[in-house]
Structure formats: C-alpha cells, structure tokens
C-alpha cells in the first residue's frame, strides 16, 4: 500500500543556467484564445505538470520555477497528439530543467499526484469536473517525478528555480494558486524516505 519515494537533499544537485524558455502565449487573453482554438481543432487539452521533489531537514521541498517576484509554476506543458502522458512529462521536465543530452531516464515518472479540470476558457480550475459541465476544456494531470541521486539542473535564464518547503505551500492558495497549494495534501499519501 505504501508508495515509497526516495528524496535526496537539495545539496546533492547542481544547478546551471541555459537559454530562456518563453511561454507560448504572451498574455492571458492570447492564452485562452489559443486554448479555444485548440479546443475547436483537437478537443480538450491534456496538460501535465511535473512535481519534482528534494528534501531539506527531512521536509519535502517542491521545485518551482519562479517568474518575477510573485509567480511560481511547476514545470508544465501540453501532451502532444500520440504522446503518452509519461512521455510528455519526461519531455517537458527535460525541456524545462534538463539539456538536450540529458537522458530522459533522469526523470522517472513515478505516479499521478492530482487531476485538475478547467471547465471554461477561463482561469478557474477545479480538482473535479463541475456537475453541469460535460465538456471540460483542459485536463491537467500532475505527476510525481523521482529524481536520481545526483544530477544537474539547467534552469532557463528567465526563471529562477526555488525549492519550496511544503509548509510554505500548505493552505496558501493566495500565494501559489490552488493547484500548487494543494500539493501538501496530494503528497501526503506517499511515504518519503529522506536520504
């Protein structure tokens, strides 16, 4: 029953920078416009986020990309047609935190952590599909990524990589949004081994 997840200390990892990685959409409007266009073409968007963990002082820390001073996000992206979710997670985490020559096996996709749905072409997302909604516009799936004992992260220059302790995220939707703020609850089912 227990899902064992090994967490290594932050100090095991090294960090470098790489060329900036820009969002596909420049504004919120264009983001939802593209979502809508895509929806009309290919239906509901399948997004995946990677939950990459380390530990400090025996407390899990979630690696978050910081943009500006107040915005944080998980490595995330859209699963392509014909691509499996796990493949999508590996590709996206590697695009975000790896380099071309980083083996994809660095990022072991361990388990589903949470599901979120976007019922409209708007920002609200919920961890369930509202009952009146038969056609959600986006399904976001969060996956736990098991790191190797040591590796190097390559962080796009336009982001800062931070390791957020779970207590910082817990009950803090105002600071991190509901998806990230829900991670402490989502992750509580795992049995973390602090190495």
């Amino acid at each position: 029953m227990d899902r064992l997840i090994k967490l290594y200390p932050l100090s095991n990892y090294t960090f470098g920078t790489k060329e900036p990685l820009y969002e596909k959409d420049r504004t919120v409007e264009s983001r939802f416009l593209r979502l809508k266009e895509d929806y009309e073409k290919t239906g509901m968007r399948r997004s995946v986020d990677g939950v990459v963990l380390v530990h400090e002082h025996n407390l899990p820390h979630v690696l978050l990309l910081q943009l500006g001073s107040t915005f944080f996000k998980l490595p995330s992206g859209e699963v392509g047609p014909g691509e499996s979710e796990a493949e999508g997670v590996q590709r996206i985490v590697n695009d975000t935190l790896g380099k071309e020559d980083t083996p994809l096996s660095t990022w072991i996709v361990e388990d589903v952590v949470a599901n979120w749905w976007r019922p409209n072409f708007e920002s609200p997302q919920y961890p369930y599909i509202p009952a009146h909604c038969t056609h959600p516009k986006e399904h976001k799936k969060l996956f736990l990524v098991q790191l190797p004992e040591r590796t190097m992260f390559h962080v796009p220059r336009n982001y800062k990589l931070v390791a957020a302790p779970l207590f910082e995220l817990y009950d803090n939707s105002a600071g991190y949004g509901p998806v990230i703020a829900g991670l402490p609850q989502n992750l509580s089912r795992f049995n973390f081994i602090y190495i």
Binding site: L67, G68, Y128, H132, H135, F153, N158, K160, E168, N172
Partner: protein
C-alpha cells in the same frame, strides 16, 4: 490587480529570503508584464473576494468580460461556453438589491450595469433567453435538449452562471438562439419544460433578468452538503432558535475546531474566502451573514433542492418535503416551511415581515418620486425588484406578504399606466 501585485511582492521578498532556498537563477526580476501570462495565481486574489470587500463594480466587470459568444459547430458543443458570473453571496445580492431600492442611481445599479454590459457586448441579445430554476447538476446537454424539446431549434451559444469559487452551477444559463424570431415567445415555451423534476423558469435576456436570477440563485444555490443518511438531521443543530448567523463549516475548520457534526447547507452560497496575504498566517474571518435570507430558510430550501426522489443521498428527515415541482423560489420557500423540521421561529417571521414592510415602503416612495420626476423606467424596475425580493422571503406565502405584494403590484400598474400615458 496592481496593488495586489505590490503587496504580494513585498510578502514574497520576505518569505523567500527566509524559507525558500534559492537554488538557481540569475534574473531576480522579470518584467511584470510577463507575469500576466500566468493568471492562475494572479487572478486568484480577485476571485477570492478581494479581501472581503470586493465591490460590486469589480464583479460586474468580470461578468462583462465573460460575455463572449461562440459560434455553433458541428456537434453543437464546441460552441458552448460556460460563463462565470460575478461572485455574489446572498448577502451581497441582498445588499445590492437593497441599495438599488434605496439609492437613486439607477444607472449604477446591479440591473443597470449588468444589462449595460449585455447590451454593449452582445448586440444580438434579442436572440438570447435566460433559463433558470435548474439544479446544480443540470448539464449543458440537458439544457440543449430542453431547448430542443421546446421546439426552439439549435443553440448558438450557452453559458452557465456558476460559482467561481467552487465551480458549482448557480442554476441558470444564458442561451443564444438562432434568431430573434425564435427567441420571441421562447420563455413561455421553455416554462412548459421540466428538467430533473423542476419546471424551467425563463426570461428574455434583459435589464432585470441577470439580477433576478442571481437573486434567486443566491437564495437557493447553497452548497449542497447533503447530510449522509444516518446523520442527525440539521434541526438538532439549529434547535428551536437557530443562530441567526451560523458559522459555516469551513470557517470553523480554519479556526482549528472541526465542527462536531457537519451542519448541512448553512453555508452561504459562496464562501467569502479571504485571499488576503499571508493567508496562512491569519485566521480567516467568518463569512458575512446572508442578510436578506434567513439562514434556516436557506437550509430548508437547500435541503429541498438537493433532494431528488430516488437520489443516492437522501436524508430521511426531508423525504416528506421533497415535492418541489413549483417553479418559483417563493413556492419552494413556502413549502420548506410546511415541513415539521424547518419551521421558522416567530422571531424570524416577525423579522422577515418587518424587512418586507421596509422594502415595500421604501420601494413605493422611491418609485413615486422617480415617477414624479418622469423616470418611469427606474420606478418600474424598483417596484419589480421589491416584488421579487418579497416573494423570496420566508414569509412569502403569508397574508401580510400578499398584501404588500398586491400594493406593490397596484403601484406598478399605476406607474406603467402613467408611463404609457406620457409617451
């Protein structure tokens, strides 16, 4: 938004330095513009109710923004766009409506602004109708087939009004039909249709409809925390004299003490979540009490709403009350109080009566002064709003209420007569 960003920034500088090991990254600052991309966090404070003091104007802007229409597609569904309306809780609606009655600024009223946005955003609003009295689980597909059943053909677009906080449908939608000709008379046809055991309520998309549907939904779209079978019925919690402003479960949980038994459905439809930063550090204040609706009335009506014959989670305490074919809220409320478990106290009745009298007299006096000033439209609107309000009160079925409503209707007729004479 600007001020929120500033305060967040300040907070984060503090927080990050202390708690969050910075593991990499050169650019501490990225232009604020780029953060706009990432609305999930940034819009959250706004959607949480803006420090508990979110104003009407903000929420209306939100409605305004959401009035997009899409075109139909082959399966008729890609065009469906749900909408989120402003976050009203019962208290806010009541306040707005009261203010509407009492203040003299017609154009800034809730009805006025909503309709303005509708008129401005959607020149084809004549094609659109509002459909209400839906359960929260009535789907877009259900509405489409109801429209078809009513012989109104295809739907060009459809948007649900829902509670932004939790995504729950408020029980009404705006439906754009194929033409004005089809829309003409559509409400009458739609009102003949029953969906999930409820008769539809429909209206032309016009000045008053959003406000009216909002008011109705705030009176009944209580989070349906259905008591599990076997739990004590809520009357054991509220007792003979239910607290006027019960603390909702969420607030009590936040306060550190889980509620001993989940008080079902006593929560206002939208919990005024406090997004004020730092959320984690401050205990959240209890939500504001619903002003215009008695909480026990809410509870009773919600209990009725959430019961469906044959449904899975039936509280036996309410089985006997589940006849709710009525198509207006007043009726549902009136029925709720025939139940042995949810009779309002004398105090509550007196309270409601007093409130209704106040609403009635201030509406009439204001309507008269508007009418005398030649503003018949505003006078009519005021009176209609007052009638709606009184019809939704817990004593709607009582004789005194009927008298009040009758006098308002008389007054309304008089004004309408005057108005037609003046043209």
């Amino acid at each position: 938004m600007a001020t929120e960003s500033v305060s967040d920034e300040w907070m984060y500088n503090e927080v990050l330095d202390d708690d969050m090991p910075e593991v990499s990254g050169m650019n501490r600052r990225v232009s604020i513009d780029s953060t706009d991309l990432l609305d999930d966090v940034l819009t959250f404070p706004a959607s949480g109710g803006g420090n508990g003091s979110k104003t009407e104007v903000d929420t209306e802007e939100e409605v305004d923004l959401n009035l997009h229409f899409t075109t139909d597609t082959e399966n008729g569904l890609a065009g469906i766009e749900d909408s989120r309306s402003a976050r009203y809780n019962a208290e806010q609606v009541a306040k707005t409506v009261q203010a509407r009655i009492e203040s003299n600024k017609t154009s800034q009223s809730i009805g006025g602004t909503h309709s303005r946005s509708i008129y401005m955003r959607d020149p084809n609003k004549k094609n659109s109708v509002f459909i209400g009295n839906l359960t929260w689980w009535t789907t877009d597909m259900d509405v489409l087939s109801a429209v078809r059943e009513a012989g109104l053909g295809e739907v060009k677009s459809l948007k649900f009004y829902d509670n932004r906080t939790n995504g729950q449908s408020k029980g009404f939608t705006m439906v754009e039909l194929t033409s004005e000709a089809v829309a003409l008379g559509a409400p009458d046809k739609l009102q003949m249709i029953t969906v999930h055991g409820r008769k539809l309520v429909a209206a032309y998309a016009g000045r008053m409809s959003v406000a009216q549907f909002e008011a109705k939904s705030s009176g009944k779209a209580v989070p349906d925390k259905q008591p599990l079978v076997g739990n004590k019925p809520q009357t054991s919690l509220t007792g003979k004299n239910p607290p006027l402003y019960p603390r909702p479960p969420l607030a009590s949980v936040m306060g550190g003490l889980p509620p001993p038994i989940l008080p079902p459905t006593l929560v206002p439809p939208e919990l005024p979540f406090n997004p004020a930063f730092p959320a984690a550090a401050l205990p959240r204040p209890p939500p504001l009490p619903p002003a215009a609706f008695d909480p026990s009335a809410l509870a009773a009506a919600a209990a009725l709403n959430s019961q469906k014959p044959g449904g899975a989670h039936l509280n036996p305490a309410f089985l006997q009350d589940q006849m709710m074919q009525g198509n207006n809220v007043a009726e549902i409320f009136a029925k709720a109080f025939q139940g042995p478990t949810s009779r309002p106290s004398d105090e509550e009745i007196a309270d409601a009566n007093q409130r209704n009298r106040a609403i009635s007299s201030s509406a009439i006096s204001r309507a008269m002064s508007d009418a005398n000033a030649g503003d018949y439209e505003s006078a009519i609107e005021t009176l209609k709003m007052a009638i709606t309000l009184i019809k939704q009160s817990i004593t709607a079925g009582s004789e005194s209420c009927q008298i009040l409503i009758q006098s308002l209707v008389d007054c309304l007729r008089g004004v309408e007569h005057q108005a037609s004479g003046s043209k």
